[in-house]
């Protein structure tokens, strides 16, 4: 497998996550998976495909249909020394578990002054663009990032999916792990299993540029990269940063970039109002006040609930809306 020259293959995000989960389960038999339909079905997105067959029903646990129960029992398993990886079937169904997440998962370590470890990963397929009905296209990240005691990361591509899920599982604090569901089966990328991944809680410049810094994560990274290409045609050079970690934020590369460009656009699928963009704007303005040529502009979902899917593409931030914001940063 990892022999020289044999270790790369083209994979989707779904495959990367599946491979990463498998690796994590092989590496540590305390790793358990729990959730609705994660067993025989392999999850509705097939991310856990084949794992129950190979690791058994005790390690890949089909749960009763109750999210609070899934997370709450996972807390108990973590207290017993296990490392549960919980799958929430869709973003909109994390809310029945919200209390357990923000009052228990997030607080056990603090409550015990560090004596209790809570190594849990809560995987959430998030974001829209798959033509689904209500509650299947939400972007709940800001609520978790606002909660001390949780770490929140979002992967954006197959290779990150593979590494980040393993790193999250190996991490001793609870991690909300966001997966851009519209990317699951979209693009393939080359995975080199022998590579050394970057640290989990780090942001990454995914495209160098000079004129405007575009911040994105999860599903909007692809959008941002397309924007950068399009902008290049028009002679504008965008620097794109894939934030990857939403809490804690890794602001160093962001500040470094903004000090060069003086202009920032943040884009995410979550609502603009009190979304990650607000926090990024506030921090960047505080830190780079005299470098900014324009205020940080935010391109996200409008502040109404996720619309019927026939118009979701007009609701979600897209190439044009991000480019429009890029233009506007020059209008100040």
């Amino acid at each position: 497998m990892s022999e020289a020259g044999m270790s790369t293959q083209k994979i989707t995000l779904a495959k990367g996550l599946n491979m990463g989960l498998r690796k994590a389960m092989e590496a540590d038999d305390k790793v358990l998976i729990a959730g609705e339909d994660v067993g025989k079905l392999g999850g509705v997105f097939r991310i856990t495909d084949g794992l129950q067959k190979d690791f058994g029903e005790d390690r890949v646990i089909d749960s009763p249909l109750a999210e609070s129960g899934i997370v709450g029992t996972a807390v108990g398993m973590a207290l017993r020394g296990y490392r549960p990886v919980v799958e929430i079937q869709f973003d909109g169904f994390v809310y029945p578990a919200y209390d357990q997440i923000v009052c228990q998962v997030a607080k056990f370590t603090y409550r015990s002054q560090g004596k209790v470890k809570m190594p849990m990963v809560i995987r959430i397929p998030f974001g829209g663009g798959i033509g689904a009905v209500e509650h299947h296209s939400e972007s709940p990240e800001a609520q978790f990032a606002h909660t001390p005691g949780l770490k929140v990361v979002a992967c954006s591509n197959p290779v990150d999916g593979y590494w980040m899920i393993q790193q999250a599982i190996a991490h001793d604090d609870p991690v909300i792990f966001l997966e851009p569901k519209r990317q699951y089966h979209a693009d393939k990328a080359e995975l080199d299993e022998s590579a050394t991944p970057e640290p989990l809680f780090s942001s990454r410049v995914v495209r160098k540029g000079e004129d405007v810094t575009v911040l994105a994560y999860g599903p909007t990274v692809k959008t941002a990269l397309k924007c950068a290409e399009a902008a290049e045609q028009e002679g504008r050079s965008l620097e794109v940063i894939d934030l990857r970690t939403l809490s804690p934020l890794d602001m160093r590369p962001v500040y470094e970039s903004v000090r060069r460009t003086g202009r920032v656009v943040v884009t995410h699928e979550a609502h603009v109002n009190l979304g990650m963009g607000s926090e990024l704007a506030a921090r960047i303005t505080e830190e780079c006040f005299y470098s900014l040529e324009a205020p940080v502009l935010r391109v996200g979902a409008f502040d109404h609930p996720y619309p019927p899917s026939r118009i979701e593409e007009e609701y979600l931030p897209d190439l044009d809306r991000v480019l429009d914001a890029v233009d506007r940063t020059f209008a100040f």
Binding site: D37, L41, L65, A66, S68, G69, H304, P308, S309, I311
Partner: protein, 385 residues
């Protein structure tokens, strides 16, 4: 599952029989073979007209389902939640309702919607992605489809508490008294919300009937994951009666639901009905049940088809002639046509309208966002023209 430690009641007794055929507690009035049987508690006479009505409802409901499934295959719907096999459970329950009763459905109650007189075209909006299933719930006292599993059972209970406060329970006037029915699935029975709804309903003696279609599956999870005893017994732990009825038997479902609704209307509080049935299709059109269940099971359940058994009964008892079937066939075709044509011409939602739906009156904030978006869209049109 006996108890070697001798702790508490005999569990074998409590747990009841194996669930594969519904067990002896299953209320049945019509066997899978179309044989009319009687029940000490829920027996009932049906007129030919009633039975033909049930039959027609089931056939047309199945037609809606088949058409919608086809529409999804042709890309006209994003997804569809099939009810194939659950027609008797839904028609039996739906026809037991009085006009003043109020229904809280899940996302699969197409047959109940039919009984309420909702144009099935309205059901397609949600699945096509042109609206959120945005009919007016007061039109036919049929609530909006609810996707978050179990959430509607609390709404039903609260609504029933409202009905109590309106003095519309136990008035002695059967045309005024109201009941509320909450639909949900076997999987839903594990949600905290559903169990809390039992607690509230019991605590306030609310006029609500909990109608659970145990179709044996919650996507890929079998009923045994949710409960290790027959599900109807759950209600006993909350202090109200539970009944298991053959959900593929429209007569029995009607009889039991009617009794439960009457009970609620008269002020005798909540009850729980487990309609024992089977999801013959996939969970939704995106599901692949071959990954998790045996074809044998499906074949076994096909023999209990709710429509077939009533057909056999009607035929055997000379309650029906060929003209009825021919007319029904034509009606079904017409309905199919209505759905196919109607679906394609459902108007797409308008992005700018969405801002206006959030509140009863749009806020300045949202109006500004809408106007900004409108200006942005216009700037494109200018460029393009």
């Amino acid at each position: 599952m006996n108890d070697p430690a001798g702790f508490g009641p005999d569990l074998a007794e409590v747990f009841g029989p194996s669930q594969s055929d519904g067990g002896p507690e299953l209320v049945q009035l019509l066997t899978p073979e179309g044989e009319r049987v009687h029940h000490p508690e829920f027996d009932m006479e049906f007129s030919a007209e009633q039975l033909l009505g049930f039959y027609r409802d089931m056939v047309l409901t199945r037609r809606i389902d088949v058409e919608a499934t086809a529409l999804q295959r042709h890309g006209e719907l994003g997804i569809w939640a099939q009810l194939l096999g659950q027609e008797a459970a839904q028609i039996g329950a739906g026809r037991a309702l009085k006009p003043q009763d109020y229904v809280f459905p899940t996302y699969r109650e197409h047959g109940v919607a039919w009984c309420r007189g909702l144009d099935p075209l309205k059901l397609l909006g949600l699945f096509r992605g042109v609206d959120q299933g945005s009919w007016d719930p007061t039109e036919a006292n049929f609530g909006l489809y609810t996707i978050v599993i179990g959430a509607q059972t609390l709404h039903a209970t609260g609504y029933a508490m409202g009905v109590q406060r309106d003095g519309l329970v136990g008035t002695g006037d059967p045309d005024r008294d109201m009941a509320v029915i909450a639909h949900f699935g076997d999987g839903a029975s594990s949600q905290g919300d559903v169990n809390e709804s039992f607690i509230f309903a019991a605590s306030y003696n609310a006029p609500v009937v909990f109608f659970c279609q145990n179709n044996q599956w919650a996507i890929s999870e079998p009923i045994e994951r949710q409960t290790r005893i027959p599900l109807y017994q759950r209600a006993l732990g909350f202090g109200f009666p539970g009944i298991r009825v053959d959900g593929n038997d429209v007569m029995a479902t009607y009889a039991v639901t009617q009794a439960a609704l009457k009970r609620a209307r008269e002020g005798n509080g909540p009850s729980f009905i487990e309609a024992y049935t089977y999801r013959m299709g996939a969970h939704t059109t995106t599901d692949d049940p071959t990954r998790y269940r045996l074809n044998d099971d499906l074949e076994r359940w096909k023999l209990r088809d709710p429509i077939e058994r009533l057909k056999v009964y009607l035929r055997r008892n000379g309650l029906v002639d060929q003209k009825f079937f021919d007319d029904l066939d034509a009606e079904a075709k017409e309905l199919g046509h209505h759905l196919r044509e109607g679906c394609k011409s459902l108007p797409d939602p308008k992005p700018l309208d969405q801002f206006g739906y959030v509140f009863q009156e749009i806020t300045e904030e949202l109006a500004a966002q809408r106007d900004g978006f409108a200006a942005y869209l216009e700037s494109f049109e200018e460029v393009q023209s």
